[in-house]
Amino acid sequence: MSDAAEDKGLGDYRPLSYFQLMEVSLRELLLEKGIVTDAQVQATLEDMRARGPEAGARVVARAWTDPGFKARLLENGTRACEEFGLDVPALRLVVVENTPQVHNVIVCTLCSCYPRMLLGLPPDWYKSGNYRSRVVREPRAVLAEFGLRVPDHVSLRVHDSTADMRYLVLPMRPAQTAGWGEAQLAQIVTRDCMIGVAVPKASDSL
């Protein structure tokens, strides 16, 4: 079945998968029992789709240019984001800082916990069993597959997001960006840099 036919919703009679069926059943039950309204479901979907890694990138760029903000961000990520004017409901944020001695990388080995309020929906690979099982036990090899070679003298910290906290990596500001403003800096802070599978490059600026 081609994607185009699937998009039209015509002629695709494949049975739903177990989890698709569970999602549809649960959603319909919640609507039927009046626990949520369809408008609320749609609004929540819109809210999630409207979020992307740009918010996280703005936070990183501010931390790079304002040492006071950076200190508050590392102390209490949620409060610093709210102070920055970001709407981050239900987010308990731990920000971990890359330094010349330490590189950080984020995973959720149990499911796919992710700082959606700052980065939007997680990429598929973040949810894959391959990434989730391997990045904890061979992080250097996994990062190399992303094209990131962590030097031997740098130690690695893997953060397994198992419970109520969410994580954001504060990457190191590239040396070639002296004098850049926040907006230009934010352009080189990609989603992958904030998960810790990449590092920002000054050459990524438009």
């Binding site: 609004a43 036990r137 109520d164």
Partner: protein
């Protein structure tokens, strides 16, 4: 940004059991395998680490999954483990660590 009703709220003042551990304390993760919704990964059960920070008190996930209140809440810690102690064949640096959120009822004290 649309206004979203019924957003999850995270109250911060849950009635909680007393906090047992402080930053720097050595702890061991209980090596037990109960059924249910457990937020303690298999791979870390039985391993020893050091408390990196306290995260606050949160309702117990095993209870929440059964539609119960999860109260009294349990303190949640970030615990730091040396990768070489977790994986005997770990190939990276001796200083490499994995840090994991673990609830207090999954931790036992370990004298230094």
């Amino acid at each position: 940004m649309p206004q979203v009703a019924n957003r999850p709220q995270y109250p911060t003042d849950h009635p909680s059991v007393p906090v047992r551990f402080a930053v720097g304390d050595r702890v061991r993760v209980r090596k037990t395998y109960p059924l249910g919704h457990i937020r303690t990964p298999y791979y870390i059960r039985g391993h020893a680490g050091v408390v990196e920070r306290l995260c606050g008190n949160y309702p117990v996930p095993e209870e929440l999954a059964q539609m119960r209140s999860g109260l009294p809440a349990q303190p949640l810690y970030r615990v730091r483990f040396l990768q070489r102690e977790v994986w005997p064949d770990y190939a990276g640096r001796a200083e490499d660590v994995v840090e994991i959120e673990i609830f207090q009822h999954w931790l036992e004290p370990l004298s230094a």
